[in-house]
Symmetry: C2
Subunit: 133 residues, 2 copies
């Protein structure tokens, strides 16, 4: 068995206030990862990272994810050109989610459907969806 | 068995471009939910919603989540006073994540540790964490 890429927090205090990145991966070995545009503040996408994707993101400054549908490591933008330069990486209180401030390259978008952000639909009054910038 | 609270999208086209909110709940019956401050754009927290929590959020305009640790529906702010008025609710391309623009009540915070946002720590150069506004 290979050495784990990240430590495990010993207790709640070190998990919440400690100086060690000790992500709490879920049963599938994943944490949630939010990409927010570094300049506009727009939330671009939510995806998943396994330990390897998180380590690569920290080490290279380029967003890496883990694709649940393809069950594979995924360097964002490798095929689309929408690489994400990570300006800042944050972790939340219980270390099961990370927040990245990114600058997308290529056409500046993040969504495979063709919108800038994956969150291109608003839930309107009657509970239906409307596409809206 | 009770009727499901939301429909299931028939195909990828209706999932991605349709006008029906048809969330794709995971194996545990959850979608990821991001709360972003409606005025500042700050990402406040990431949590989870089951169908009931999402329905209540849509119907009441107040953020409801599902607590994985307590295995229970959770109206945000019920005990802390940090209620979240939902200004806008969005869903992502494959409908397994929602984004809420919220205005937090009470002290204006969202994190149980006492910070305004749960993402109060930055991963710095050597991979360690630093608390930073």
């Amino acid at each position: 068995m290979s050495e784990p890429l990240f430590p495990t927090a010993a207790d709640t205090a070190s998990l919440e206030r400690g100086a060690a990145l000790a992500p709490r991966f879920d049963a599938n070995g994943l944490v949630a990862a939010i990409a927010q545009h570094a300049d506009t503040g727009e939330v671009l996408m939510l995806a998943w990272m396994n330990a390897e994707a998180l380590k690569l993101t920290v080490d290279t400054g380029q967003a890496h994810y883990f694709s649940r549908s393809r069950n594979a490591l995924w360097k964002k933008g490798e095929t689309s050109g929408q690489l994400q330069d990570v300006v800042e990486l944050r972790v939340d209180c219980d270390q099961d989610a990370v927040l990245m401030k990114v600058r997308p390259r290529g056409d500046g978008g993040a969504c495979h459907v063709g919108f800038r952000s994956c969150f291109y639909r608003v839930v309107v009054q009657d509970g239906s969806l409307e596409e809206r910038p």
